[in-house]
Subunit: 195 residues, 2 copies
């Protein structure tokens, strides 16, 4: 609980997030993180006691952040199509910056055996599912289980970013060409969901 706040605590968290979520190095040690942050490894202990607590902290913040991001976009008072547009923009930007954030969350859940995380507010999702269903009835989008609609959307948005290292292989593309390719997907996805 530092009061003077030289930003070191935040720096460590941000660095951890960069290494884990952006670089996708899920096996990063405390050394790796401290080094990348330009601080002594003991500083890490000073702020977080243990590696597990640092990881737990990053996990919780990330989980909350994801929840808030979802909630904000879904609960915003705007026409449906604008909302979807917003959702695509927000999540694509996030995936570009932190492609492995959700992967980190899932592998943490798998290793730590966190079965059901409480305190997750599902109301925004539940309400949004209803809104989707209404749009389907109105004929704006294809009729299906609205959960599928959401899963489709997030799949199309997220997966190519995560698989980039493999897709560059299989498509024989360099970084620049691949980045250009995925940049095209913003419009493509929008057109896909509104058939």
């Amino acid at each position: 609980m530092p009061l003077k706040n030289t930003g070191t605590e935040q720096l460590i968290k941000d660095t951890a997030k960069r290494i884990l979520f952006a670089e996708g190095k899920l096996h990063a040690t405390t050394q790796d993180i401290a080094e990348a942050a330009g601080v002594n490894r003991a500083a890490l202990h000073y702020y977080f006691r243990t590696r597990d607590q640092l990881v737990a902290c990053v996990f919780n913040e990330s989980m909350l952040e994801l929840s808030v991001r979802l909630g904000t976009v879904m609960a915003s008072v705007r026409p449906f199509q604008e909302k979807i547009e917003e959702l695509i923009a927000v999540f694509m930007k996030e995936m570009r910056a932190y492609p492995y954030q959700e992967i980190f969350l899932v592998t943490e859940i798998n290793t730590a055996g966190v079965e059901l995380v409480k305190d997750i507010d599902n109301m925004p999702v539940a309400n949004f599912l209803n809104e989707i269903e209404n749009e389907m009835s109105a004929g704006v989008i294809e009729k299906m289980n609205p959960k599928h609609f959401l899963m489709n959307l997030f799949s199309l948005l997220s997966y190519p970013f995560i698989m980039a290292p493999l897709y560059r292989q299989f498509f024989n593309l360099n970084h620049q060409d691949f980045d250009q390719l995925v940049a095209e997907r913003k419009q493509l996805i929008y057109r896909m969901v509104f058939k």
Copy 2:
């Protein structure tokens, strides 16, 4: 290079794949793997020298297997629509059994810094991209960059399996209900790509 072959080597590899690809425990130690396989940890060293070599072996086999699976489906001599049907069936089955295989590959590439893996045969993919383009010209499927068509397909197929632990949270579903939901996707995806 065992000649007697008691199946232990294969058992170790299979167990490693189960823990890494199926259970998604990407931090598994040699202890974890040996224990799960029911062998002494030294047996692991006997067959693979080091942990890194075991992981490298699993990585290479997995990479090859993925490449072969892709090639087989894509190069099969069948009508396009049947091919897609086959592709969906094959990859969904694989994702159900080993949801984290591609994630493992990607995170390994990220940590080991394997930039470009040589010896990957891209001809099947290249040919299939042409085939897709022809079908687009024929009006069977929506016109777009055929790479997007493939990325869309694999995204829709794969992502929900990987995100299962999170989606169960956000949708408030138990395992059984979620399994039923994703089972519906086989038909849904087929209908989606053929608009």
